[in-house]
C-alpha cells in the first residue's frame, strides 16, 4: 500500500486538464466527415390523429437522401428498459404511428447532405393532424378523459400500494391529524449540452454510435433490438457528456433513427437537438399530485402517514413510473413511522414522458413529509426543530428494518446532523426593507441497485488501466475510481488510467444515476485492485521463492522484490503474463442499498414589495459515508443544492392545452450565479455503513432532495411575519406566488 491513502484526499480531478484545454469531445463533435444530417418533423399538437403525411416535396429538395415516416420503418419502436416489457403501453414508436401523443413527438425524419437541406426539406413535409382532446393529470384522474393508448384503460399505466402497520387505528387514535395536498409541476433536466447523436457503419456490418447519454449500455441494448444486430455489433460511446441529470438515462427515438439511417443508408449520420427540441422532447420529471395526512399523538410523535400519489407518465411510460414508489419511500425521511397506507397511480398524459431529474422524485417525497412535519409543529405548538427531534430514528435503533418495505436504516447519526444545523441557523432581524426566514429540515436518500463491472490490466511497464462501463457526465468517475484503485492495488495515481462509457471495453453496465456510482463503481474498482494485487504478489512469491507477505512491489520501477533483500528483484515484464495481468470483476450485491442522510438549514431574505426571495445562508450536515474525494463531494453537494434551489424558487415546465409554454431558457428559469446562496457551510457527519465493503453512500442527488423543503420552510417563516396565516404549498416560489402568500390569497 502507498504510504498515504488516496481515498479521502481532495486530489485534482483527472478529467479537468482535458476539458479545460478545450479537448472535450461531445457527441455533436464526433461526426465523421461526409455525415448526413438529420432533421425531424415533429407534432405541433399535444394530441392528434395522423390523417396523412406527404413527403414527396421534401424528397425533391437537392441534397436529400431519404425521408422516412413510420411506414418506412415497419413501425419500429423502443421498449423502455425501466418499465416492464410486458406492459402493452411500453412501445414508444421511433416515428409516430396513428396518433401523436405530445408536442414534439417525431412524425418523420429527413436525411440530407447538409443541415440546411435537411431543415428545408423537413419544412416541406406536409401532414394533417386531426386534433384530439388533450389529457392532463387532472382530466386523467377524473377518469373521463380520452384514451391515449388503446390498450390502457382509463390511461392508468400503473397503480400500487404501500401498506404496513395499522394506519386506520393510528388515525382514529391520533391527537393531531395534519394534511398537505400539493401538485408539483414538471421540471426539466436543463443540461447545457442538448441531446446529440452520430452513428456510422462499421466494417463487420454493425454500427458505432456516439451519443450524449448517461448509459451507453442502455442505448446499445435498445439499438441492437431495433437494428436486429448482436449487441457486439453495436458499439456505443459517450466521450464527454455536458450534463445528464436523469433524462439522458433513457434510449431515445433519435438515437434509433440515426443508427437505423447509418445502417440502411450505409453512411455516417448525425443529429444535434436544438434547444427548443431539447425542451420539448428530452424527458421531464415530477408532474405529480400528492395528498397526504399525518397522524401524531399529543406529544407530537408520528403515528402514521396515509394518502395518495398521482403521477403523470406523459405520452409513453418511462422512468416516470419509478417515481411514485420512490416518493412514498422518501416520505420516511429520518423518522420512525409506525404505520403507512399510501396508494399511487400513474396516468398517461399528453406531454413528453416523465423520467428522473436529479433526485428521481425523492425531493417530492421529502418535500411532502417535511411540510407535514412543519404543519405538525403548527398543530402542536412545538418548535419545528423539536418536533423533528422527537421523531428521528436514533443510532441505537439501527439497523432498523422498515416493516412492510425492503428498506433498512443501516447507519447515520440523525440527531447529530439536526443539532449541528439547528445551532448554525438563526433568523436575522428584519431590516433595510427585507424580512428574513429560517428553516431546518432533515432527510434520507436510498441509493444503490444492480451491478457494475470492471476490467483491470496491469502492464509490464507498471501502468494500470481500469475500464468501467459507467457513463459520466461530469461527476468525476475517473478520479473517484482511480483513487479507490490506487489504494486497493497499492499504486500511485499517476500510473493509473481509467476508461469509461464505451461498450467495447466491458461486457455490460448500468446507468449513472440514483447516486449509485461511487458505491457500485467504487466497490468494483476496489475489488479489481485487491484481486490484481493478490495475484501479483502470488506471481512474485512463486518467482522469488519468498512468502507473499515479504514481497515488495515498486510500480514506478515496475519491479517486485523481497523485503530487506534489495538484490532480489524481478521486473514485471518477467512476472506478468503476455499482455499484462488481467482481472475482471463484477460487483452485484444481493442487498446493495445504503441510506445517505443529511440535515439542511436555510436562511432566506424576502422583499415584501416585490416578493423576491434570496437564499442568504445555507448549511448542510451530511452523512455520505466514507468520502472518496472531499473536493468533488463538496462540488456535488453545492451543485445538488443549486438544483434544489431551482425546484424551490424557479423551475416549472408548463403545458397549456398540450402546448409546452416554457420551451426556452427565457421561459424556463434555472438558477444562475447570482442565485447561489452567499454563505454555504458543509459539515461532514459521516458514519460507517456495512451495506458495502468500502462503506460508501450516495451523494450526487443528496442535496437536491432536502433543499426544496428547507427553502420552502424558510420562505414560510419569512412570509408569516407579514401574514401569520400563510402556508407554503406549491412550488416554485416565484415572486408572484410569494406576493399572493403575503397578501393572503393562498399560494397554491
Amino acid at each position: 500500500m502507498s504510504a498515504q491513502p488516496y481515498i479521502g484526499r481532495s486530489v485534482r480531478r483527472l478529467e479537468d486538464p482535458h476539458l479545460l484545454t478545450g479537448r472535450g469531445r461531445y457527441a455533436g463533435d464526433v461526426s465523421p466527415a461526409g455525415s448526413l444530417h438529420m432533421a425531424v418533423v415533429r407534432s405541433p399538437l399535444g394530441h392528434g390523429r395522423i390523417a396523412s403525411i406527404d413527403t414527396a416535396a421534401a424528397r425533391e429538395v437537392a441534397g436529400v437522401v431519404a425521408v422516412w415516416t413510420a411506414a418506412d420503418l415497419e413501425r419500429a419502436f423502443v421498449v423502455d428498459e425501466f418499465v416492464s416489457a410486458k406492459l402493452p403501453a411500453n412501445r414508444r414508436p421511433v416515428l409516430a404511428w396513428e396518433t401523436a401523443r405530445y408536442v414534439g413527438e417525431p412524425l418523420a425524419a429527413v436525411f440530407a447532405e447538409t443541415p440546411l437541406a435537411a431543415a428545408d426539406a423537413a419544412a416541406l413535409v406536409y401532414f394533417e393532424l386531426d386534433p384530439l382532446p388533450v389529457v392532463d393529470l387532472e382530466t386523467a384522474r377524473s377518469g373521463a378523459a380520452e384514451r391515449i393508448d388503446a390498450a390502457t384503460e382509463g390511461n392508468l399505466v400503473q397503480r400500487g400500494r404501500v401498506d404496513y402497520g395499522d394506519a386506520v387505528a393510528a388515525f382514529a387514535a391520533a391527537a393531531h391529524v395534519v394534511r398537505f395536498d400539493v401538485h408539483l409541476p414538471r421540471i426539466c433536466g436543463g443540461a447545457m449540452e442538448p441531446r446529440a447523436v452520430s452513428a456510422w457503419p462499421t466494417p463487420g456490418g454493425g454500427v458505432r454510435v456516439a451519443t450524449s447519454t448517461q448509459a451507453v449500455f442502455t442505448v446499445r441494448r435498445a439499438l441492437a433490438r431495433l437494428l436486429s444486430l448482436e449487441v457486439g455489433h453495436v458499439e456505443v460511446v459517450a466521450e464527454d457528456v455536458g450534463g445528464g441529470f436523469g433524462p439522458k438515462a433513457a434510449a431515445y427515438g433519435e438515437e434509433a433513427l440515426v443508427a437505423l439511417a447509418a445502417q440502411r443508408l450505409g453512411r455516417p449520420v448525425t443529429w444535434t437537438a436544438s434547444r427548443s427540441e431539447d425542451f420539448q422532447t428530452t424527458y421531464h420529471s415530477h408532474g405529480v399530485a400528492v395528498a397526504a395526512e399525518l397522524a401524531a399523538d399529543a406529544e407530537g410523535r408520528i403515528l402514521a402517514l396515509r394518502g395518495t400519489v398521482d403521477q403523470e407518465a406523459g405520452g409513453y411510460p418511462s422512468m416516470g413510473l419509478i417515481q411514485p414508489p420512490t416518493i412514498v419511500t422518501h416520505l420516511l425521511s429520518q423518522y420512525a413511522v409506525p404505520a403507512m397506507a399510501f396508494e399511487h397511480r400513474t396516468f398517461l398524459t399528453n406531454a413528453v414522458p416523465t423520467a428522473a431529474v436529479r433526485g428521481g422524485s425523492r425531493p417530492v417525497g421529502n418535500y411532502v413529509v417535511e411540510r407535514l412535519v412543519d404543519r405538525l409543529a403548527d398543530a402542536t405548538g412545538l418548535d419545528r426543530v423539536e418536533v423533528r427531534r422527537r421523531n428521528q430514528v436514533t443510532p441505537d435503533r439501527m439497523p432498523l428494518a422498515v416493516e412492510g418495505t425492503v428498506h433498512v436504516y443501516d447507519s447515520g447519526d440523525f440527531p447529530a446532523q439536526l443539532e449541528a444545523v439547528a445551532s448554525r441557523i438563526r433568523r436575522p432581524p428584519a431590516g433595510a426593507g427585507l424580512v428574513y426566514g429560517a428553516g431546518v429540515v432533515v432527510g434520507a436518500e436510498t441509493s444503490g441497485f444492480g451491478f457494475e463491472p470492471a476490467r483491470l490490466v496491469v502492464a509490464a511497464d507498471g501502468r494500470a488501466r481500469l475500464d468501467i462501463g459507467s457513463t459520466p457526465q461530469g461527476q468525476g468517475h475517473r478520479t473517484m475510481a482511480a483513487q479507490v484503485l490506487a489504494d486497493r492495488l497499492g499504486w500511485p495515481l499517476e500510473l493509473i488510467d481509467v476508461g469509461v462509457a464505451d461498450t467495447t471495453h466491458v461486457g455490460d453496465a448500468l446507468v449513472t444515476g440514483g447516486s449509485r456510482t461511487a458505491m457500485y463503481v467504487g466497490n468494483v474498482a476496489a475489488m479489481a485492485g485487491r484481486e490484481a494485487r493478490r495475484r501479483l504478489l502470488e506471481l512474485a512469491s512463486e518467482k522469488l521463492e519468498a512468502a507473499s507477505a515479504d514481497i515488495v512491489v515498486d510500480p514506478v520501477k515496475a519491479v517486485a522484490g523481497v523485503l530487506g533483500v534489495p538484490a532480489r528483484q524481478v521486473p514485471f515484464a518477467e512476472l506478468l503474463p503476455e499482455g499484462g495481468l488481467q482481472v475482471e470483476e463484477r460487483y452485484a450485491p444481493e442487498r446493495g442499498t445504503a441510506w445517505g442522510s443529511s440535515a439542511h438549514g436555510a436562511v432566506v431574505s424576502l422583499d415584501p414589495d416585490t416578493g423576491k426571495v434570496e437564499v442568504e445562508r445555507y448549511v448542510i450536515a451530511h452523512d455520505i459515508g466514507r468520502s472518496i474525494n472531499p473536493m468533488t463531494v463538496e462540488g456535488q453537494l453545492i451543485g445538488g443544492l443549486v438544483h434544489g434551489l431551482g425546484i424551490a424558487l424557479l423551475e416549472e415546465a408548463r403545458y397549456v392545452d398540450g402546448q409546452l409554454v416554457t420551451g426556452s431558457f427565457l421561459d424556463y428559469s434555472t438558477p444562475t450565479a447570482p442565485d447561489i446562496p452567499r454563505e454555504i457551510e458543509l459539515l461532514d457527519c459521516a458514519t460507517r455503513t456495512e451495506q458495502n465493503p468500502e462503506g460508501f453512500k450516495g451523494v450526487g442527488e443528496s442535496a437536491t432532495i432536502m433543499s426544496p423543503a428547507a427553502i420552502a420552510s424558510a420562505v414560510e417563516d419569512a412570509v408569516r411575519q407579514l401574514n401569520p396565516a400563510a402556508e407554503v404549498v406549491g412550488l416554485p416560489l416565484t415572486p408572484d406566488r410569494v406576493l399572493a402568500l403575503i397578501q393572503g390569497e393562498g399560494g397554491r
Binding site: 461526426s31 465523421p32 458499439e235
Partner: protein, 322 residues
C-alpha cells in the same frame, strides 16, 4: 539528404512565388478561402512543379532537397496563405515516398503522429499516414471527425482509428528515424510559413500606411505609424533569424527541445507582427472582412501548434542570444 547547391533555395523561392502569385493570388483571398477547403489551383501546380517530392530521394523521382529549400518553399506558402495539407504532404509523404507508393503526386496526405492527434485536412485526405509504436503505416478505413476551426486556412479533424487497418511501410529503427525527421522538418516548414505570414503582414501594412489618408496626409507620414512599422520590420527580422536557426538545427540534427524553443519564439514574434499590422490598419481585420484577418488567425493557429509556453521561450531566448 543530398546537399543541394546554396542558391537552390533562392531558386525554389522565386519559382514558388511565381507559381503561387498565379494560382493562389492574395487578391480575393477571403473569397478563395471560403470557396474551397484546399487551394486546388496551387495544389495541382505544386504537384507539377515537384514540390511534393522536394524531400524525396532521387531514386523516388525526388529533388533530394533539404531544410533550407523547405523553409524557402513554405515562406511563400505562408505569404500567399495557400490552404491545404502542405506540411504533411511535402514533409511526411515526401520522406515516405522513398519507402512506399503513396499514389499520384496530387494526393492529399494527412499524417497522424500519435493516436488522437488533430490532423489538418484529414477529412479530405486521400491517404492517412499513421505513426504506430514500431512502425509508420498507411491507414485504411479511418474516420475523420472534422473540428470547428477558427483558422480560415485550416481544416482540422480528429482521426478515429477504431475499425481501421494500418499497413506498415517502414518498421523498427528506420521508422523511428523517419518519424524524427518528419517532426523536425515539419517544424522547419511551419517556421517558414510563419516567416511568410509575418512578411506579408508587414508588406500589407507598408502599403496601407501609404494609401490611407488622415489630416490630408498618408498615415505613414506620421511618426507614430512609422515607428510602429519600423518595430514590425525588426520583429519580422527576428522571425527570419529564428527560421535560419531552425533550419541550421534541422540540418545539423540539433536537439528537439532547441528547435521547439525556437519555434515557440518565432511564433510569438510573428504574432507580434500580425497584431501590430492590425493596429496599423486601424483595427480593420479584427473581423473577417479583410485579408489581414486570415493572416492573424493562421499565425495564432501555428502558435498553438507548439503550445509548450514559457520554459521553451526561455530556452529559445538563450539560444538566440548565443
Amino acid at each position: 539528404m543530398s546537399a543541394a547547391a546554396p542558391d537552390y533555395a533562392q531558386e525554389i523561392q522565386r519559382s514558388a512565388r511565381e507559381i503561387l502569385a498565379r494560382t493562389a493570388s492574395t487578391e480575393g483571398l477571403l473569397e478563395r478561402l471560403r470557396a474551397e477547403d484546399v487551394s486546388r489551383g496551387a495544389w495541382d501546380a505544386a504537384a507539377q512543379a515537384g514540390w511534393f517530392r522536394l524531400l524525396s530521394g532521387e531514386a523516388a523521382g525526388g529533388l533530394g532537397a533539404g531544410p533550407a529549400e523547405l523553409a524557402a518553399l513554405f515562406r511563400e506558402i505562408g505569404r500567399h496563405l495557400a490552404a491545404g495539407p502542405w506540411v504533411d504532404t511535402v514533409v511526411a509523404a515526401g520522406l515516405l515516398r522513398d519507402h512506399a507508393d503513396l499514389g499520384p503526386d496530387t494526393a492529399l496526405i494527412g499524417y497522424l503522429p500519435e493516436p488522437g492527434a488533430v490532423v489538418e485536412f484529414a477529412a479530405v485526405a486521400d491517404v492517412l499516414v499513421v505513426r504506430g509504436p514500431d512502425s509508420i503505416g498507411l491507414a485504411r478505413g479511418a474516420l475523420a471527425m472534422p473540428l470547428k476551426s477558427f483558422d480560415l486556412a485550416g481544416r482540422p479533424a480528429q482521426v478515429d482509428l477504431t475499425g481501421a487497418t494500418v499497413e506498415a511501410v517502414v518498421e523498427g529503427a528506420e521508422a523511428e528515424r523517419v518519424a524524427v525527421a518528419i517532426a523536425r522538418l515539419a517544424r522547419v516548414a511551419r517556421s517558414g510559413e510563419l516567416a511568410g505570414l509575418a512578411a506579408a503582414a508587414l508588406d500589407m501594412s507598408v502599403r496601407y500606411a501609404g494609401e490611407r489618408v488622415q489630416f490630408d496626409r498618408p498615415i505613414g507620414a506620421f511618426q507614430a505609424v512609422q515607428h510602429r512599422i519600423a518595430e514590425m520590420a525588426v520583429t519580422r527580422t527576428a522571425v527570419d533569424s529564428a527560421l535560419a536557426a531552425i533550419v541550421t538545427l534541422a540540418a545539423s540534427e540539433g536537439t528537439d527541445a532547441e528547435q521547439a524553443a525556437l519555434y515557440e519564439y518565432a511564433a510569438g514574434e510573428a504574432r507580434t507582427v500580425v497584431l501590430s499590422a492590425l493596429q496599423v490598419h486601424g483595427g480593420i481585420g479584427f473581423s473577417a472582412e479583410h485579408p489581414l484577418h486570415a493572416y492573424i488567425k493562421r499565425v495564432l493557429r501555428l502558435q498553438a501548434v507548439a503550445g509548450e509556453g514559457e520554459p521553451l521561450l526561455d530556452l529559445g531566448g538563450r539560444l538566440l542570444a548565443g
